[in-house]
Structures are given as C-alpha cells and as structure tokens.
C-alpha cells in the first residue's frame, strides 16, 4: 500500500524527547498509575451488550464489506508501523468493535446527517441537543480509549453513551450541516471527563455585561459661554484626589485578596491522573459556515472552548468521515501550542492519501478562495488516478430523531445539571402540568445547602407566566409575564399575595385603556405611573390612613381605608399656557386643603402656586361664607387681574372639589383592581391551564376529535358507496347452482337473460309513464266536460277551483309527456351501455370474448 511507499517520513515523528521524562520512565509511571483504581462516584449506568438488541440491526452492522476489510488492513498496517516508529506512544484508536462485535474503522462510524429540524442547523443548538438528549456514562477505563464504539443509531435509541459516542453523534450532525468538524481522541481534565460542572459558573447566572457607551462630547461651539472662574485651589484638589486613590487601591487590594482566598477554597484537590484521562471531543475548524476561528466543543456539556483552553491536555489523533490524522506535535503544554493545519504532514500524520486536506496553508493565500474552487475541479479528474484508496461509505444507518423525541429532548424529558453554586433542572414542555420547563436554583455555598434564589421558567401557560424569580433571602417573588395576560400584567413582584402589602405591578401600557405602567404598593401608600393619557396625568400617589372601624368579616361591603392625601402630577399640556396648566395637584383630604402647583414657563424659574382651603365656615350672623379672599392663597409669576376675583377662585374650587371626588373614586377603583388581579392570579395558579397551539396536532384534543370525526364520516361515506354499487348479475347468478364455474353457454344465456330483462324493464317503465299520461288526460277531459255542463250554475269559487285544477293537470301532463319522450330517447342508449358493461364484466369477459 501507499503507506509502505514512504516510510522514510516516520522517524520525524519521534518528538517526545523534548519532554523531561524519558519514555521508559513514562511507561513505568503509566503502569503504576494504571494500577490505581479510581472509585467512580455512584453506580454508573453500565450499558451491557445483552441490553442491546442486535437481532434487528441491518447487515452492514454485522459484516464488513470487502472495501471495509481492505481499509482495516490499511489501518492495521498503519498501526503496526506507528507502534514500531513511536514505541513510546499509546496505541491508536483505529477500529474499535461495534455493537455486533465487528471491528469498524472510526471514520466510517461518522455518518454526516443534516437533521430536518431548523433548530439543529447551528453548532451551538446541535451541541446543546446532543448534551441534553444523551445521558453521560463514564469510560469503563478512564485511562484508555474504549474497546467498543457503537453506531449513533444505537446510541440515540438507548439515549446514553460515553464521550466517544457523544462526539461521534455531534460530529455527524455538524458535518451534515456543513461544518468542518472532527472527533478528537485525547486527554482532558477530570472535570471534563466526568462531566463535572460543579466548578463552572452556570451560564444562566452570568449577567450580560452592560456596554457602557462613551458619551460623545460635542466640540464646544463658537459662542459657547465660558464657565465661571473656578476659585478653588488646585493643590487641595490634587491632594484630595491622591487620598481618594490611596483608599481605592487599598480597597481593591483587599478585594483581590478576598477573591484569591475564595478561589483557593474552590480549587479542587489535585487530580492524581491529571493528563492521563482519555476524553473525546469535537474540533470545528475555521473556514466553512463562516466560522472565523477554530474551536473545541465538549459534547458532554455543549460548551465551546478556545483551542488554547487549559482543560484540554493533549491530542492523540483526530478524524472525520474522510480521513484519520495522528498528532505529531508535542503536548507538553496541553493543546496551547498545537497548530491545526491538517495539511502539514510534519505536524499531522495522515492515514489515507489525497482526501480533502492535502494543501499546506500558504502564507500568501490572497486568491485562496478562488483557487480552492479550481483545485476542486481539477482534483475531480485527478482523484481517480492518484487516490489509491478512498474512505468507504459509513456503515451506520441514517440517523433519525423523531419529532417526539426531539421535543422531549432529555431522557424521560428530565435532566439535572449541577454547576458551581447552582443547580439547573430541565423538563420537556407539557411534562409538568404547570408548564415548568426549567428551574435554576442558586446556592450561597459550594455545598449547595443554602438556597439563595430560584428562577423558574414556564412555557405554554395560559396566564402567560414566563419566569418566576424567587429570592429566598429577601422573600421577594417576581413574576414575569409575556404579553397577553387578561389584565395586561407584565411584572408582578410581591412578598405575599395578601392585599395591602408591599408589591409592584408593571403593565403592558399599550394594552391598557388607562395607560397605567406601574403600580407600587406599600401598606400605607399606593403609587401609580401613567403614560400617554389624554388628560396628561403621569403620576398618582395615595396615602392611606388607618381603618376607622372593623367591619364584621362576612359583610359583603368593602371597607376601604380612608384616604389622607392624593398627589397627582401631570405632564405639560402644550395646548394650555403654563400658568393654567397644573403640574402637581395635592388633595390634603384630612386637612381639607387643596394645593396646586403649575408648570413653569419656558423662560422662568418660578412657577405659580395656589392653595385652597375648602373648609366651609359660618360667619358671625350665621350665614354660610361662600368664599373669602383668605380661602385661596396664591402666588402668581405674573399676576393677572381676573384670577384675583373671588368668582374665579370660587369656580376653580368647585371644579377642584368635583375632581377630588373623581380622584378618590379612581383610587378606590385601583384598590379594587388590585384585589381583582390578586384573585385572578390565585385562580390561575390553582388552575395552571396550558395552552396548546392549533398546529400541535398531537396534543390538541379538539382538533384530534374533529379529525377523527372527519375520518369516520369519510369511512361511512365510502361504505355507502360500496353498497350502492349493486350487482346487476346477482339475481341471474342466483338461479345457477352455486360454486360452479360458468360455462360459455351459461354465460351467453346469462347475458341474454340479463339484457332481455333490462329491455322488459325499460318497456314497462315506458308503459307506466304512458298509462299515467293517459289517465291524467282522461281526468282532465272529464273535468272539462263537467265544467261545460255546469258552467251556468257554478259559483266563482268553484270556477276558480276548476281553473287551478286545469292548470295543474296540464302541468302534470306536460311533465309526463316530457318524461316519456326522454325515456324513449335514453332507453336504447341505456340498453347499449348495459350490454357493453356485461361484455366487460370480469365474470363473463373470458367466456364472451369469442363473440365480441
């Protein structure tokens, strides 16, 4: 084979001298270390062969094709040369056994497949699916690659696998969706190998960093005024700055020390097998699918890592569906220094010649893109001659995931992942009857005992609840809703569901008629914020006093708390002059006072104010005082004549009084609404109805019933049609002895009989119509005769009766005549049609052929 034709390259592969350990020492140590048994925590679910039903597997799983055999020989040869030339390196993973105990080359186990789900088109969602869908099993021997590598179909069926199974499946999916992906056999940290995320921060808890936009400072304009002269001392400022900085650095130092201490505490005990644990993960090379930079994906956790990440400690080999490469670079520094230029034969020793990565990356690849295409075209021709051997097609059946399984995702629709100070639980939609799909519990300590907060994500809830955030330290619950809640609720944060407690409700303002955005409550106050109201109200604050008396519990009347003060603020109404546009209105209900504060004019710094005393008093004579100048104290920016008038003030006060009443009513309504919302929320929590999309044919009971009913109707219709197709030969066949084969004579007779019978029927029918026709005509004639005889004595009513009878009779006669004519026309045609049908009848066709 071609492998033998260039053995002179092999010596170059010996690179391990660079390490400080001699091969002997290393081997020795390896042996010693392999004796150390690591107790695997828990009882890992072991997949044993007897659980796999191999009987139904297709033949490609059970035998090797000649080409595969040839490939195995090549691989065997390669392996022998490799062990000869690199005696200090571990044997390669080339052809592990599959589920049927047949050796299969690793590349052929990769079956590139594009999944029919648009969600699985990108690498991140693919990886997430694989990690969710399969249950992780540790390698039987953490220091050696497995002896068996099952097909992805089997792995998907049983929903569990080791890192090699995970990576093979993910690699198949990624290559299928166009990525340049490879499986890597190498060494990784303990955390990765055991899928231990407890030292990782949960990605859901990481807050997105706020991008601080540097505010662009406009260049000072030509006539910008100069700032007033600064009289403060520069020296003092400097000193102050220095002092501040010192304090800051000290604080920072302390913080850093604290952090370091924490980090130290979190660090795990050093792993005795560090660097020896075998792991398999996926490499995605840059280039295809607009991947800007090569990266690793750990198939267990679906996380992506840079190729320099310290979790990855070395690479033995890597492969895709076309070829197999052995790493010839030194891994003393993990994967940090590796170059993933698979076209470089010095760094990567390939197994098969001439597959797709033959070029070295050239430094001046200016016309790389264009040339690639040309090369491909050229290579098409060359490939046949040059390439002595091509990778055989994958032996694995097409990878299929049913929509059901895709939706359920995790095995049994459930998965729990432990992170550092966090626990993430996932469920399939509709699995929990309250719509819960995800729960993230955050803990205070590393041992996960003290709960800090819980976040629960919901789906398909009819009350549109999307996320519930429970803070255990403050006891504050926050519910987030999607648009569509009956009360337009957006956010609801509360400590208790009892009314008149601390609570904040935010609303989808566009869905509300009153433009309410937010309502905050404390036991004594209620604050409402509005937007976009035609009366420009933007804010209302209500202070409540203590309840005056206790009503009996069972009374139906509500007992609202007395209102002490209502503060309302308004936006500027551009249609009114500033002096008449109220900015703030305070009803001091207990004091019987009303304070008004107007908007400030554009070129002013003071605003008008007015205060009304609405006390009604009686003067010395016992008359009611309507209005006195001291009942209205006002400050006006520009004093106006008409506002000084008592009449004006009186009218203003009357208006305010009615508005006060209105505001109080609105406050009361707000209180009622809160009660209503709370009640509704409680009902929704109890009921937790889930919505089902009308497109969800499986779950939507209604549409299912409808569909089934439709099917039933269709079926019945079909049956009825079957029945109506009567057998015209049946009465004649019945006369013949049953079970006997028809003779030709019988057939002819049968046909003739049938035809003559039909002829008779046609004649009978014609006669019948004729008879009716005659009868009708006779009757008419009789009637006419009778009429002529009795014409003189007839009353007008009788005459009318006679006339109507005549017209009806004439109508009947005409119809009968028409029918008769039509029958005469059609009868011969019908007769011929039957004759032809009889000739074609399957029972007679053979026997009548001769005569036809």
């Amino acid at each position: 084979t071609e492998r033998l034709s260039r053995p002179e390259k092999m010596p170059k592969l010996l690179r391990k001298e660079a390490t400080t350990l001699t091969p002997e020492l290393l081997r020795d140590m390896e042996q010693k270390l392999s004796e150390i048994k690591v107790p695997i925590p828990g009882d890992p679910p072991h997949r044993t062969d007897d659980t796999i039903d191999i009987a139904n597997l297709p033949p490609s799983y059970k035998v090797n094709t000649p080409r595969e055999e040839q490939l195995l020989q090549v691989a065997d040869n390669f392996s022998r040369q490799y062990s000869h030339l690199c005696p200090d390196r571990v044997p390669l993973l080339l052809y592990p056994l599959n589920e049927c105990e047949v050796p299969k080359f690793v590349s052929t186990t990769i079956r590139p497949t594009l999944m029919p789900f648009p969600e699985l088109y990108n690498w991140d969602t693919c990886a997430q699916f694989v990690s969710d869908f399969l249950t992780m099993m540790p390698l039987p021997d953490p220091l050696k690659p497995p002896t068996h590598l099952y097909s992805s179909t089997t792995v998907l069926k049983y929903q569990k696998g080791n890192c090699f199974d995970f990576s093979t499946l993910l690699c198949s999916m990624l290559i299928g969706s166009g990525y340049d992906a490879y499986c890597i056999n190498g060494y990784a940290s303990q955390d990765l190998c055991l899928m231990d995320l407890t030292r990782e921060v949960c990605p859901l808890t990481v807050k997105a960093k706020e991008v601080v936009h540097a505010e662009e400072k406009a260049p000072p304009k030509k006539y910008a005024i100069k700032p007033p002269r600064d009289m403060t001392s520069r020296f003092e400022q400097d000193q102050e700055m220095k002092r501040q900085e010192e304090i800051k650095t000290a604080e920072e130092k302390q913080l850093r020390e604290e952090e370091e201490r924490l980090m130290e505490a979190e660090k795990a005990a050093p792993d005795p097998l560090h660097g020896l644990r075998v792991h398999c993960w996926v490499l995605v090379l840059s280039g295809k699918r607009e991947v800007p930079e090569s990266f690793f994906i750990d198939a267990f956790t679906a996380r992506s890592y840079s190729t320099q990440d310290s979790h990855f400690l070395g690479i033995e080999s890597l492969w895709n569906h076309k070829n197999y490469w052995v790493n010839m670079q030194d891994c003393w520094n993990g994967c940090k220094d590796l170059v993933f230029d698979l076209g470089d034969p010095v760094r990567w020793e390939y197994l098969l010649l001439g597959t797709d990565k033959p070029h070295l990356f050239t430094t001046d690849d200016e016309d790389d893109g264009i040339n690639d295409d040309d090369d491909d075209v050229e290579n098409l021709g060359k490939e046949d001659e040059e390439k002595s051997f091509d990778m055989p097609h994958s032996w694995v059946e097409q990878i299929e995931i049913s929509p059901d399984a895709f939706e359920t995702r995790c095995p049994n629709g459930k998965k729990i992942i432990l992170y550092k100070r966090a626990k993430l639980e996932k469920w399939a939609p509709y699995l929990n009857n309250n719509g819960l799909v995800c729960r993230l519990t955050t803990y205070e300590d590393l041992e996960c005992t003290n709960i800090l907060e819980i976040k629960e994500w919901y789906q398909n809830r009819e009350d549109m609840l999307e996320l519930r955030h429970m803070n255990k330290t403050t006891g504050l619950n926050t519910d987030y809703f999607k648009p569509g809640h009956p009360q337009a609720l957006r956010v609801h944060s509360y400590k208790s569901m009892l009314p008149e407690n601390d609570r904040v409700m935010e609303f989808y303002q566009s869905a509300r008629v009153d433009g309410l955005i937010k309502r905050e409550e404390t036991p004594k106050t209620m604050t409402e914020h509005f937007q976009g109201r035609p009366d420009f109200l933007s804010y209302r604050h209500i202070n409540f006093g203590p309840r005056v008396k206790k009503l009996p519990l069972n009374s139906a009347e509500s007992n609202p708390r007395p209102i002490v003060k209502i503060t309302e603020r308004f936006c500027r109404n551009p249609a009114k002059p500033a002096d008449e546009d109220v900015a703030e209105r305070v009803f001091l209900i207990a004091d019987e006072r009303i304070q008004l504060c107007y908007h400030c004019r554009n070129d002013h710094i003071t605003a008008s104010k007015r205060e009304f005393l609405r006390r009604t008093e009686v003067d010395s004579k016992g008359n009611k005082i309507i209005m006195t100048p001291d009942m209205c104290v006002s400050f006006e920016v520009e004093p106006m004549e008409h506002t000084k008038k008592l009449l004006y003030q009186y009218e203003a006060m009357i208006k305010l009084k009615s508005e006060e009443k209105l505001s109080r009513h609105q406050a009361w309504e707000s209180e009622l609404e809160v009660l209503e919302i709370l009640k509704l929320r409680e009902e929704e929590e109890e009921g937790h109805v889930l919505t089902i999309s009308i497109y969800d044919t499986k779950r939507n009971e209604k549409s299912k019933e409808y569909r089934e009913a439709m099917e039933r109707v269709m079926h019945e219709e079909h049956l009825r049609q079957m029945e109506t197709q009567l057998d015209y030969l049946a009465p004649f066949l019945a006369q013949l002895p049953p079970g006997e084969k028809l003779t030709r004579w019988q057939a002819v007779r049968l046909k003739d009989e049938c035809l003559s019978d039909f002829k008779q029927r046609l004649i009978d029918k014609a006669n019948l119509i004729q008879a009716r026709f005659e009868k009708e005509t006779q009757e008419l004639q009789k009637k006419q005769q009778w009429y002529q005889e009795n014409q003189v004595t007839l009353t007008p009513e009788d005459e009318d009766l006679y006339l109507s009878y005549c017209s009806q009779a004439m109508f009947r006669i005409r119809i009968l005549e028409q029918r008769l004519n039509r029958h005469k026309e059609l009868a011969p045609l019908k007769y011929l049609a039957l004759e032809e049908k009889l000739y074609k009848d399957p029972r007679l066709v053979e026997l009548l052929k001769v005569f036809a």
Binding site: K221, K222, Y223, A224, I225, K226, P228, C600, D603, H604, I605, T606, I626, M627, F635, V637, H642, K645, L646, L647, Y650, E651, I654
Partner: protein, 528 residues
C-alpha cells in the same frame, strides 16, 4: 314678531341694557352672590344674549373683548356694525333682523357659526375673513342669483348651509347645484345630504365644475408662484443683493438716459457693442456680486444661528440651576414652616422665623449671583459676536466696493464704454462735418451733432447718469447692510437687558412672596 316690535319704540343698546343682560345671564346661586358682590367686568363675559330687545343699532359692545357667543336675533337691526372688537367671537346670531347687506364682519376671523336667517340679504359676499366658518344660515332672504353659491366654495370648513326660503331655492336645480358646487357640505337646509344625491349632482354638473376647478387651480398656482417670487425677493433683500441676478441694473442705467439711447443709433456703436459685449460683461459682474452676496448672507445666518443656539443653551442651563435651587429651598422651607406651626414656645418660634428669613435672603443671594454670572457670561459672548458680525459685514462691503467682483469693476467697464462711445461720437461728428456720413440718422440724434461740445456733453451726461445709477445701487447696499447690522446688535443688547430685568423682577417677586408669607405667619402667631 318683527312687525310687533316695529310698533314699539326702538331701544338703544346703552350701558344699562347691557349690565342688566350680563347680570341676568351671569352665574347663579352662590356664585351669583359673589358676582354681585364683585361686579362683572364686560371683558370677562363670554356669552351674551340680546334677543327680542327691539334693538335698532348695534352699539357699545367694544368692551366685550372676550365674547365668544353673541345673540342679537329678533331685533330690528338694519346694519351689521360695531362688532370690530369682538375678535374672539365664535357664534354670532343675527337672525330675524332687517339686514340688507353683509358687512362689518372682516375682523371676526374666529367665527364658526353665523346665522343671518330671515333678513333682507340679496347677495352673499364680504365673508372672506371668516376662514373658520362651519355653519352658515342664510334662509329666508332675497338671494336670487345662483352664482352666490360659488362664492361659498372658498370656505373649506363649511359643513352646514341653509338657503331655503330664498328665490334661488325655488329653482328646480337648486339642491343639485348646491351639492355639486359645495362637495364638502354635509347638511343642506337642515337635512343630511345623502350619497346618492351627491353622486347625481356631481355627474350632472361635472363639466362646469371641472372647468371651475381648473380655473381655481390656475389662480391658486399663479398665486403660489407670485408668493414664491415674493419670498425669493425677500430673501435676496435680506442678503442686500436684490435685482442683481440679471440685467435690472443695466436696464435701469439706460431707462432714464435719453442721450445714451439716442447715441446707440450711431454707426459703429453696434459694432462696439458686438466687439465688447458691454451688457453681457456688466451682467456677469452683477451676477458675481449676487452670488457673493448670497454666500455672505449664508455665512451671517450661520453665525447668528450658532450664537442664538449657544445663548439659549446657556440660559436654559442657568434656568435649570435656578429651578433646582428653588426646589431645594422649597423643600426645606416647607419643613421649617410646619415645624414653626407645631412649635409652641415663643422664643423658639422667633428663632426659627429668623432662620427662615435668613434662608430666604440666602436664596435671593444665590439666585442673584446666578443671574449676575449669566449676565457677565452673556455679555462677553455678545461682545464677541458683535465684533464678528461687524467684521463680516465690513468684509462684505469692502469686497463689494473695491475688489475683484465688484461695483468698481462696473464703473471701469462703464468708463471704458464711455471712452469708446466718445471716440465713435467724435468720429461721427467729423464725418458729419465733412459730409461723409452716408447713413441716415434720426433727426433728434442728428440734432446732437451740432458741434463738439454738444456731443461731448451728451455723451458725458449719459456716462454721468450711468455712474450715478451704479453709485446709488452701491450706496443703497452699504447703508442697508450697515443699518441691518446696527439693528441686529441693538436688538441683541435690548433683548438681553429685557431678559435680565425680567429675571430680576421674577426673583424679587418670588422672594417678596416668601417673605410676606413668613411675615403673615409671624403676624398670625402673634395674634394667637
């Protein structure tokens, strides 16, 4: 009714009548008592009803400045008059009177509802000022010409019209005609116009209406064009270079120049003009000046805009600061006041009151300092701006007067032309003297060639007139630019002074009010 009233003595709209009406129609009950106590000023009245008063002449209404609604129906009024001051009027009812012509409504631009029902009007006109008119009632009058309806097309908001009881409403085509010519009308003679009628009317009168529309559009277009031209001219005037974008100046030079026009008949002058296209060159120079002027105008405008923007920003910021200070003060002051009210011991109260007084004084000082600071800053900026704008104007004038694309060039051109013309004239004279001239000259031109002095004088006079025109134009430009500049600077200064005074007044007023309030409190406490 009318007849009945006529039998009585006509009443005069005097003060008593009006007072009575106002009092009767004023507020009721408690408010009425207050109104009685204080008396109602005529200018505060919003609506006035004066029906069935047998009034002959509208009078004495000038005080009702803010009147919105006036009812003068069922009187014997013969002329619409005395309504000039009621510019806020929205609703005017003059039905059942004896009015013969529509007049005296030219100032009522806010009028929306006008009723002239049952009068003696024969022609609809003089309503041009009523641009907001929505309801017009002209029933029971003597309008006989259908063309009156076309007059109503100009009221874009007119929705309700009544014309029944007029001679025109007798016409067979009346309804269709009105519907067709007033397509926006909704109610005619108290009835809603249905869509079918409207459609029919439209079809029936389509041609005439299309023609009418076409004419209206044409006039509209003409008007717009004239307006645009006017605006352009205004813009040029603002740049002080109006009429320089063409041959206006050149033409005006020859407009009053009798001799020059005569001389142009001389042989050779035609060739001279051809060889040296005097007019073309002149116009080119004018155009140069024009463009330069526009550019300069742009520059000045930008300068002013930036200046205004900066000044506004500074003032805004200062105001914000002031507002903040006041808000801070008010918060503290309110607390203090309530503390004083709650306090019972006299010395403590006095001490607190003194404290409050100090707070007020401090606020006053702070606000005044802010204001003074702003004044200083603004003054500096204004001075810079003034210098810049004066420089800019100076540069403009200098360039127009004496640089490359300028009046000086015009003058040179003219002098050159003058020399050539003189030469030709003298040549011609010589020829005439020698009797060599073969061409016929008009008699009045020939009259110039009596002797050398006459012809030189004539040519000189023409030259002088030309130069005078150029000088005048230049002077006009310079004076106007200069006066504009002075006015601008003056205005900025006065504005700033006004602003300052207003602010100081405002601050004083506020502080006085606060102090008063405090004093009152003191006073009240002492009384207690």
């Amino acid at each position: 009714m009318n007849r009945l009233c006529q039998s009585m003595e006509p009443r005069v709209m005097d003060d008593d009548l009006l007072k009575l009406a106002v009092a009767e129609q004023g507020p009721r009950e408690e408010a009425g008592q207050l109104a009685k106590q204080e008396g109602i000023l005529f200018k505060d009245v919003l609506s006035l009803q004066l029906d069935f008063q047998n009034i002959l002449r509208i009078d004495n209404l000038w005080q009702f400045e803010n009147l919105r609604k006036l009812q003068l129906d069922n009187n014997i009024i013969e002329r619409i008059e005395g309504l000039e001051n009621l510019t806020h009027l929205v609703w005017l009812d003059l039905s059942f009177n004896n009015i013969e012509t529509i007049e005296g409504l030219d100032t009522l631009v806010n009028l929306e509802d006008l009723s002239l029902f049952n009068n003696r009007i024969s022609k609809i006109d003089s309503l041009d000022a009523l641009v907001k008119l929505q309801v017009l009632s002209l029933g029971n009058n003597q309008i006989f010409n259908m063309m009156n309806v076309i007059y109503l097309r100009r009221f874009k908001d007119l929705r309700t019209l009544s014309l029944s009881g007029n001679p025109i409403s007798e016409a067979e085509d009346y309804k269709m005609f009105v519907c067709a010519y007033l397509p926006d009308l909704v109610y005619l003679d108290f009835r809603r116009i249905d869509d079918l009628t409207r459609e029919l009317a439209e079809i029936k009168h389509q041609y005439t209406i299309d023609e009418l529309k076409h004419r209206e559009e044409l006039t509209q277009a003409q008007w717009e064009e004239a307006q645009a031209q006017k605006e352009e001219l205004e813009a040029h005037k603002a740049a002080f270079i109006e009429h320089l974008n063409g041959s206006f100046l050149f033409d005006s030079m020859y407009a009053e120049d009798v001799e020059g026009n005569k001389l142009s008949f001389l042989p050779g002058v035609g060739e001279l003009l051809e060889a040296y296209p005097f007019k073309d060159k002149f116009v080119i120079i004018c155009l140069n000046i024009f463009e330069y002027g526009l550019k300069q105008q742009e520059k000045r405008k930008m300068e002013i805009d930036t200046f205004n923007e900066c000044i506004q920003e500074a003032i805004q910021e200062n105001q914000e600061q002031g507002k903040r200070k006041i808000a801070e003060f008010e918060e503290k002051h309110l607390l203090n006041l309530s503390a004083i009210r709650d306090e019972s011991e006299m010395p403590v109260i006095e001490m607190k009151i003194v404290e409050c007084g100090e707070d007020i004084t401090q606020l006053f000082n702070v606000l005044m300092t802010l204001e003074m600071q702003l004044v200083e800053q603004l003054e500096e900026t204004i001075n810079i701006f003034e210098r810049n704008i004066v420089d800019l104007v100076g540069l403009f004038i200098e360039n127009v007067q004496s640089s490359w694309c300028t009046m000086a060039q015009c003058r040179d051109l003219e002098s050159h032309h003058h020399e050539k013309l003189l030469e030709i004239s003298i040549n011609t004279l010589e020829k005439i003297v020698k009797g060599e001239l073969d061409e016929d000259l008009p008699d009045d031109v020939r009259a110039l060639f009596v002797d050398k002095d006459t012809i030189v004088n004539a040519v000189g006079a023409s030259h002088d007139i030309h130069l005078l025109k150029i000088d005048n134009r230049e002077d006009e430009l310079v004076t106007r630019v200069n006066s504009w500049c002075t006015q601008l600077v003056d205005k900025i200064h006065t504005d700033e002074i006004m602003r300052n005074r207003k602010r100081v007044k405002e601050i004083n007023q506020y502080v006085d009010h606060m102090q008063n309030e405090l004093d009152n409190l003191e006073f009240g406490d002492i009384l207690d």
